[in-house]
């Protein structure tokens, strides 16, 4: 098991190097540069411009810039944001809890609804529950997130008035200092009555929007994994043993189907971050997605690079956890195959 983990971690190193290079190059392919953006509409003199370019080190050849960036990275220095002059690490981790909270609730909703939906569709294959569920899944999967988000805001916030339009907390009635950065946890720690409810109230709509695509993917994958498993010989054995249907499906079949589904859930975490960028923008959610969008529009090279690196590391970390869980769920992997 220890060797299994080590070999997985060893694989992360080249991946990480590749990401630094990609992040570094892609952000420089964007038209414009930070100095142009900083100089505003009226512009600045050519001397001042040259001075600023030299200040950010952008006058050197790209390859030299890359290696000095790598050198700093190895020393744990992710650079400073060009627009705010604060360390990228600080800026990122300040906003990360908001995104993690959103992503956590989104994946929770996606799994809690997607997995049962997939099971039901598989068991009722070819009949109306299957058609309804898979039709909805396809619709959810095809829906542009920003449009779907706006539709839900229009219905639930504007027309029905059930949920707030944006933000993370009812700031008129509640205030507390961030401790963990997770609003629900901080609200609970503050001990203020109704604060947790308010945090959850703000969380519900963005999480639902963000969960839509992963939920659709999880439902479809669960269905196909279950269909495959339900045709296996050991399912027949389970029925021959006299087990009740719920036990055959919910334990014998599901446990095997989960091997595939867990991998899919892990892969959805990447999609989730991409979705978070849009969702956070729609709901003015102060997370890393919105921060990245701002960094890109400012051509804030160090911030964009740092953000991409951290997000990739997170995705890799989640996938590592999924790989480990895979070993736990699938006994055949455990023996170090």
């Amino acid at each position: 098991m220890f060797k299994f983990i080590l070999s997985k971690i060893a694989l992360l190193i080249p991946t990480f190097l590749g990401i630094t290079l990609a992040a570094f190059l892609f952000v420089r392919l964007l038209p414009g540069d930070p100095v142009t953006i900083l100089s505003g509409e009226r512009g600045i003199s050519d001397e001042r411009r040259a001075e600023m370019i030299a200040q950010f080190g952008l006058d050197k050849p790209v390859i030299v810039q890359y290696f000095s960036y790598l050198k700093n990275l190895l020393q744990g220095d992710f650079g400073q944001s060009i627009s705010t002059h604060r360390p990228v690490v600080e800026e990122f981790f300040e906003r990360l809890p908001a995104t993690m909270e959103l992503a956590f609730f989104a994946i929770l909703i996606a799994v809690l609804i997607g997995v049962p939906a997939g099971i039901i569709a598989a068991v009722k294959r070819g009949r109306w529950p299957d058609h309804v569920l898979m039709g909805s899944a396809l619709t959810g999967y095809s829906m542009p997130i920003f449009w779907w988000g706006l539709l839900l805001i229009m219905l639930f916030s504007t027309t029905l008035g059930w949920t707030p339009v944006s933000g993370r907390l009812d700031i008129i009635n509640y205030y507390f200092e961030p401790v963990t950065g997770f609003m629900t946890v901080d609200a609970w720690l503050s001990g203020q009555e109704g604060a947790v409810k308010s945090a959850l109230h703000h969380l519900i709509l963005p999480s639902v929007v963000l969960s839509t695509i992963p939920m659709a993917v999880i439902a479809r994958q669960t269905r196909s994994a279950m269909l495959e498993v339900l045709g296996e010989d050991y399912i027949r054995t389970a029925y021959a043993k006299g087990l009740p249907t719920w036990r055959v499906i919910g334990i014998h079949a599901l446990r095997n189907a989960m091997i595939t589904v867990v991998t899919v859930i892990g892969l959805q975490v990447g999609t989730l971050i991409a979705g978070a960028v849009l969702t956070e923008t729609i709901f003015s959610w102060p997370g890393v997605g919105k921060w990245m969008i701002d960094a890109i529009s400012h051509r804030d090279y160090p911030a964009v690079q740092g953000g991409l690196l951290f997000i990739s590391m997170l995705v890799m970390l989640v996938n590592l956890i999924v790989d480990l869980m895979y070993g736990w769920i699938n006994p055949r992997v455990r023996d170090g195959k």
Partner: protein, 325 residues
């Protein structure tokens, strides 16, 4: 009263070209402590018929039956839930592919324990004791270690032993063994068969043995059912079947046995293949391959006729003085 009694069991599956009759007109009785063998080529509906008895077929299958009784209880009139409870309790079944018949995600011990929990109950400790005892009587060495083994850590023969232990978990009255040795090495085949027979004797179970192996049939069974293309063509006590087969198909099968064929020559074979869904002959299903077929055989299907312990589906039976019709 017989343990299992089946009258006129038929199974059909929907296909793109209409219904496919996989099993047609099966009649059988098994008494406690008896061994009934069902023989026939692949695709002759042996397994399907037994899965219909166990209610293991997909819901799309159309099962019709005049009578289906276990210990006098009418299975056809029974609600599905109650019928499911008989599975593993009164009737148990083991399958052709032991490796894929065990769930890869659970330990062998857990899977056997599950059967005990459902049917017998008892505390965790009592159940574990019983699992270990079962593993021991099916000849699995070091039961305590094997309890925690996953199916992929066991060989085919070991897996089949575990399957047998699982089938015996709740002391079933009837065990259906669907070609239990087909997927195993030849050396292991004999051991598993011997084990099955020993357990059948000691537990006094009825045993239905689905097999290709006429040698096994001759050594073990009391009654033999011969199936062809889904139809039961003959049923006889084992002695009569081997000495005086009435159906030309049975006779041809026996002639093809190496032990019975004249030495030094090619083995006799049955020309042609089993008819599929679309090329079913109008008359007797065996008529295109039958060396004894006459005009009537090609025109009209013979009915299944009973004469005391014998069942036969043939217009012109062999080895018989009096006409069975």
């Amino acid at each position: 009263m017989s343990l299992l009694s089946v009258r006129n069991l038929s199974v059909a599956f929907p296909t793109q070209h209409g219904w496919f009759q996989a099993v047609e007109g099966i009649h059988l009785d098994v008494n406690a402590g008896d061994i009934l063998a069902i023989v026939g080529e692949s695709g002759s509906g042996k397994s399907v018929a037994m899965m219909a008895v166990m209610n293991l077929l997909p819901p799309t299958a159309r099962i019709t039956c005049d009578e289906l009784k276990i210990e006098g209880q009418d299975l056809l009139a029974m609600p599905a839930k109650q019928r499911r409870k008989l599975n593993g309790g009164t009737i148990a079944m083991i399958f052709q592919e032991p490796m894929s018949s065990l769930n890869p995600c659970f330990t062998v011990g857990y899977q056997i324990d599950e059967a005990i929990r459902i049917h017998l109950g008892g505390s965790k400790k009592e159940r574990t004791e019983r699992v270990l005892h079962l593993l021991e009587i099916v000849g699995i060495p070091d039961p305590r270690r094997r309890y925690k083994a996953y199916p992929h850590q066991m060989s085919g023969g070991m897996s089949q032993r575990a399957m047998i232990a699982m089938a015996l978990a709740a002391n079933p009255k009837l065990l259906i063994a669907d070609e239990p040795t087909t997927a195993l090495d030849v050396t292991v085949q004999a051991q598993i068969l011997e084990l099955l027979l020993k357990l059948q004797q000691t537990q006094g179970m009825g045993l239905i043995l689905i097999t290709h192996d006429m040698g096994v049939v001759a050594e073990t069974a009391q009654q033999v059912v011969v199936q062809y293309a889904g139809q039961q063509v003959e049923k006889q006590p084992v002695f009569g079947l081997f000495n005086q087969p009435h159906h030309p198909y049975t006779a041809a099968l026996l002639d093809a046995l190496p032990e019975r064929a004249p030495a030094g020559d090619f083995l006799p074979t049955i020309q042609g293949i089993v008819p599929g869904q679309k090329d079913r002959p109008t008359g007797c299903l065996f008529s295109p391959r039958c060396t004894h077929a006459q005009a009537l055989c090609h025109e009209q299907q013979p009915a299944l006729v009973r004469n005391s312990e014998q069942w036969l589906r043939c217009h012109y039976p062999l080895n018989t003085v009096e006409v069975l019709r």
